[in-house]
Structures are given as C-alpha cells and as structure tokens.
Amino acid sequence: MPDTHFPFPRFILDGKPVDIHADDTILSAALRADLHPTGGGCLCCAGDCPHCLITLDGVSYVRACQTPARPGQQVERHHLHPYPPLPDSQLERAAVTARHLHTDVVVIGLGQAGRKAKQEAEAVGKRVIGLDANAQQEVIGIYEGILVVARTEAGMLHIYADEVVVATGAAEIQPVAAGSDLSGLLTARAATKLARAGIDLGKVVSLGIPPDDLEVAHLEGDLVRFEGTDKLEAVVVSDSSGNQQRVPCDTVTLGLGYYPRDALVRMGHGLNVRAVGDCAQPGDIPPCPTSGVLCPCSGVTVADMEAVWKQGFHELELVKRATLAGTGTCQGSVCLPHIRSFLQARGEVLQAPFTARPMTRQVTIGEVAAGAALQPTPRTALDSEHRKLGATMDRIGGWWRPWNYNGGYGTTWAEYWAVREAVSLGDVSTLGKLSLSGPDALPFLERLYPTQVATIKNGRSRYALLLDERGYVVDDGLIARENDTRFYLTFTSGGSSFAEGWLRDWAESWGLDVRIMNRTQSLGAINVTGPLATHLLQRAGLAKLPAFMRHLETELAGVRCKVFRLSFTGEVSYELHHSVEHSVYLWQTLMALGTDLGIKAHGLEALDMLRLEKGHIIVNKDTDFDSTPRRLQHGWLVNMSKPDFVGKQALSRTDNIPLNKALVGLEVAKEAAPQEGDVIYHGDDYAGYITSATYSPVLGTCVMLAWLYVFAGDLPAAVTVRGHSARRVPTPFYNPEASRARA
C-alpha cells in the first residue's frame, strides 16, 4: 500500500529528506527541491564541471549529476571553497575489489563514434571491451602497458589492452564572466535534461546555441555579466555597438561551443591510444575572458591570470603551476579553453593543451589500493609451534621468525641460559639451502668462493664467505661436500634467491656443467644446541655422531636427516636438515625428549647475544656494502694462492692499500649499555660505530662488534662509547679456544 504521506522514496540532503522521482540523479532531485549542490555555478549535467560536487555517504567530490539517486543516501552540500571537511576517520568501509581483464581493444565512450569504433574492431575479430561513464564505468587513467583503470559500482577494473579508442565526445564550454558563480546557469544540454526531468526552470533565456526541446527566449549579443545575489536575477548582454541590455530571468542556458574531452587522449600520448568523434576535434576557443572566475575548481579569477601574466608567466604549463588553474577536480574541462584564449589574446599563439596524467578524477584511497596487498611474508613449518610456545613473532630477514619466547618463558635470559647450560632448539629453516651437482661442481665452487674447496673431504663442511667482483662480502654460509660431484651449500636467511641467481649466472657465464636446486623451502632445519645437545640426540636415536664441521645422512626419530655438526652459539650444536613435512613432528619429539633436560626453544634475540659472545658476524648487520674479508679481519677465509676466484682481482689491489678501518671486538662496562648504531669516539674524533652489542652474563661485561677507524696507522686500543671507556679485545669474547663447541 503506497504511503500517501510519503509517495516518493527519499534520500537525506543536509539532514532533510528529498523526494526521488523516476530516473532522478542526485542533482535533478536536489534542484527540484531548489537546492543547488555547491550554491552556484553553471551546471553541465555531463560530469565535466565541479558545480554539482557533493559528499555522498562520507565520500567527498562525488558528482551529483552522474550519480543515481537512491533511498537512504546521506548527501551533504559544500561550497567549492574551502574544501569539504575530511570524512569521519572512524567510518569502516569494505575493501574495494579490483578485477583484471585482458583484451585487444578498449573503447572509452559508447556514444555514436564509440559504438562505431567498437563494431569496426569486432568485425575484424578483435576482442573489445566498451566502457561508458553513463553506465557508471568511469575511466580514471591510462597507464603504460597499456593499462586502463576504470571505476565502477562493482569495484575497480584494471584492463590490459593493446589498443585504446577514446570516444568521450566534447564538453559544452562554460561561461566566464562576472556573476558566473550564481545559481541558475545551465549549459544548453543541461537545460534540456533538467526540463525533461520535470525541473521547473522558471523564466528561461538562452545565449548562443539554444537547448533542444525547450521553449526559451533567445538573446542575441555578447555576454557581459550575470546579476543577482546567490541566485540569478538577470543577464546583461551587449550588441556590436556596445549597447547593453539587461534581461531579467530565473535561468539562462548557454550554448557557447564545444571543447573536446581529450584528457585521456593526452594521457595516452606515446601509447597506442587514438581519439574518434568529437573528442578528436580541435574544439572551439571562446572569446578572451575579461572578468569573473576562470577556474572554479581552484578559484582562479581573470584578475589572477592578469597578475601572473604581468609577472612573466606566459607559457600554459607555467601559468597552470603559478595559479593552480586546471589542476582541480575537473582537470581543465571548464577552464582550459578560456586559459588558452587568454594566452592567445596576449601572446598571439594558441598554445597546445597541457599534459594530462592519471587520475582524471578524485579517487578514494580504497580505490587506489584495490588489488594491492602487503608484501607477503613466508612462514616456516614450525610457525604454529613458536606461537604455541608464546613467541613474539616478527618479520626478520624476509620471514616470520620468533624474536623471543617471553610469552612462554617470561624472559629471554631463560632461552640464553638453556643454550649455555642445558639444551635448546632453534628454527633455522629459513637458511638458504642449495644442492649443487655436476662434473664441474668442484671447479665451479673453486672459482666462486675465495676459500679452498678441493681440500674439503667428502662428509666435511667449511665455513665460507661469498664475495662479489669488488671483493666485498655479500653472503656467508657452509660448503658441505657429499661426494666428488655433489655439494650442499647454505646461505643467510633471506639470501637464497640472490644466491641461486648468483650461482646460475656464474655457471652460465663460465660455461660450466652443473645443476643447481634451491631447497630453501623444501627442507626444514632445526638447530639443537647446548652442552646436552648430544645427549638429546642420542635419546632421539642418533647412533653415529658427526664430528665438528662434519655431516652425515641418517635417521633421527624415524626422520631422514642431514645432520651437521657446527656451532653458531659457541656450544655443542647440530643442525638437522630434513624434508619439511617432518618439521613439526621432529620439533615436538625433541621437545618431549628433552623435558627433563631443561629444554627450551630460543629465538633470535637470544641467538644474537650468543653468537655475539662468540664474535660471529652477521652479514648485512655487521658488514657494510664495502666490507672486504681483510676489513672484517676474516682474511683467513681467503686463499690468494688460488688461480682465480670471484673478487680476487679486486682484493689483490685493495689488499695493498693501507687499512683504514676494521671490524673489531670491543668490551665496555655493563653500565654503558651500548646499542647498535652508537657512535665511537677516539678522543674528540669520530672513530666509528657499533654494529652489534649485548650484555654478556657469562663475562659480566658488555661486548660489541664495531667498525673502528685507523688512527696514526693503528687501530686504537681504547675508545669511548656512551661516555665510557671501552677497550679493543680479540674475538671470540667467550670461550676463545672453542672447547665447548668442539666438546
């Protein structure tokens, strides 16, 4: 039963209900209620001008003339200046989706010229997507590729095309004269549309081309000005003799000519983008404006233009930047023909229109972000185990990793002491892991690494640095030899992609016969470390134990593992490399077996302290872009007697240059509490900075790795850190004879 009190559906405008008639846009409904959206300015009803901008459901800069009126809409009006207020930041909005389409041709604008272009393309068998603003498919940008981005009611469209045809037609030229910011001004087409929508336009007069299907009093002569207070009351025209005539009216329709909607064409300059129809025409240039608002979006008047002209801004691009004319919502649709006319009248040259760049319209951040996502971060198979243990997880080295387990153990020191005095598990699945095989595997590695590889026997491993052609350290890890033609290489976490590319590039450029398989994501790895590590693994069934820096393949708790004996923490350590589907079982089994041994997991916070006590470097934390092995005091890893290796030529030169800085170990009292990045002083002189620092409970002091400059040919023995005296000491700080790691 219709509601006789409210026969029409309604939306809310400035807190008051407004009736919606059939096929109403928000503009036509508002005008029927005698409410001009921005308070004044010529309306085009075609999406070209800024005079119907509203805020709709919290989103500003919405064109009322292009938006269907629907019940329940919350509409707010604002004057063009100042800008509308920012939306309520508490508003929740659904994410905007993006759909990605591929086609041969996109036709933008499906009027007569656009429909013809679409048919012609389809006739030769091309796949064509047509878009039209009247169907709420608004193209906001054309990008290199070609990528056409459009906004629709269903979200964003990202269309990849080989060719774009722009058939967006021409806009009606709007008036620039005193009083052109009054309400009651309509373009000829707008008048026709609004009359058909049943809007009462009152007494209507027309200037220029009269509107279709509308009885109007036509005025001859040139426009002088509009008169009224907020609303139009009269229009003044002059004849060729300069005689002025004042004509009272409620509405004036203006048919002042047409200007191509060619922003998308200009945007597609250099791409396979072409214009057809009215937007391919040069367009009419109106008479030079003498007064009034020239750019309604930016509030630029003719007087402003005269001022910048006098200052010497004569080029269109410079005038745009000096005044902001053409940079607003309509992107020059209204003002560009008038600016060109103004400059031509003074400079005698009709300058080309300014460059157009995406986007043609304001878009919301949600629309810009449609289809975007945060950088994905991989997780190891043990991710859920860490979280169950109360780990604080963080993105480190490109992976989700446990920083500490304070949520479970209460303090990082619990993890630290488990490593130093009992047994602990660490998830090192993130290590880069590559298998290398081939008849040229050995010569390949000899040329790749600065260390001697031929002397690594089957079943043994060696720590090695990876250098670039300049002799700078880019990674480190293990070289493990399985047999005469097969090796297993490890790299830093986050370094496997670089390492794989590096190895493949060199193998190809040297023409060496090798196979390279990146197993970083295929293999899990668990570090078992602490004085009771061997005991724990024996409980898990490890019958044969590899000696220090050796490895073997065996079964542990029923899981096939490559077991490495090495040490990053300074205690007895094993790394168990295994197929990733067994990670959780292996971890849980070891944790269960070690319950009475005081087993705990350790995270990166504890690991950083432990390795630092041993003086182990971390590439990209302790190393810089120009860190040579000599500067790192790791020259023992370089064998310059090898015929060649990557970086050798550079090192043979730089090794003869006096050392200017080195990575050193420093010790300072606990009270200093040094931190990574702290500056080091030698007297009053800047002497370097700290790369890693920790308090060492076993040593009762703070230990650091730091870059230290050479003074008078030597590295200073004492420096100042945070106002405290620090002394240079050899590394490792803890158990330098490595008796605990080799036990």
């Binding site: 989706t97 993006a98 759909r99 990605h100 389409l101 591929h102 990202h158 990849y160 289809g371 996502a373 950088q375 994905p376 971060t377 991989p378 997780r379 190891t380 198979a381 991710d383 992976w399 298998s435 095989s437 081939g438 008849p439 033609t485 097969r486 016969d513 090798v514 196979r515 390279i516 398989m517 197993r519 994501q521 295929s522 197929s579 990733v580 589907e581």
Partner: protein, 132 residues
C-alpha cells in the same frame, strides 16, 4: 574453503634435453624452468639421460583444486597477467601477490603455492569449494 593440502611430487633438476626426453604419459608434470620439473610419478634414475640430475621427493608445495568457474572468479581478482588459452596448460606467476603455479584443465584448476606462503593464500580462497 578448499584446504591447501601438501602435494608430494618428485622434483628434478637436470639438463633441459634430458627433461625434454622424459615420457610424461598422463602424469601431472609441471615444467617450472628449462632445467626443473615437478612430476607426480616416479622417475627411475636410469630413465633420465643425466647422471648428475638432482632428484628429490618434495613436499614443499601446497595446493587445492578449484572448479573452472571458481578459478575464473578468483583469478580475475588476483591475477594481473594473461592466462594461457589452451587446455591443459601450466602457468606460473604472481597471484594474490604470491608466487603461484597453476595447472589449468577444462573443468578445474590446480592452484599450487609454496607451503611457506600457504597461510597468506588461504584467506583469498575463503569463498570457494574444493573441486578435487
């Protein structure tokens, strides 16, 4: 939501010509690189004309089958690059900003992702059904 399950495949890195010569038959064979293949059948090492090939059993890929319709709906949102038109077809690239492998059949599509990214892909598949 289709559960992303581990796919146990044999992974081979070998000379390209050796992989070219392998008889795939009806096996699910994903040639991810000229020198690398994932395949769901056993490959006897003596059938591979490369004595230095690296052959491993690999469980690092997790995947799910979607119906062709669901896959089209998913990929139009999440895949910016052009998919092959022939069927069956193998394609790989960024989907939902993740490194994904696709095996496209006429009526269904297999979506494979490294297990390390499975948790990132799952939310994108919430609205679809298993078409295995």
């Amino acid at each position: 939501m289709p559960a992303l399950k581990p796919f146990t495949l044999n992974r081979i890195v070998a000379l390209p010509q050796a992989l070219d010569a392998l008889p795939f038959g009806n096996a699910l064979a994903l040639r991810v690189a000229p020198d690398e293949l994932f395949i769901d059948t056993e490959i006897p090492s003596d059938s591979l004309e490369d004595a230095h090939a690296i052959i491993t059993r690999d469980t690092s890929l997790h995947g799910a089958w979607l119906s062709a319709g669901d896959a089209a709906d998913f990929l139009i949102r999440e895949c910016r690059w052009r998919l092959p038109e022939t069927r069956p077809a193998f394609a790989q690239g960024a989907v939902a900003h993740l490194p994904v492998k696709l095996y496209l059949e006429t009526t269904r599509v297999l979506i494979l992702v490294a297990a390390v990214y499975a948790a990132e892909l799952e939310p994108h598949l919430l609205h679809y059904k298993d078409a295995a």
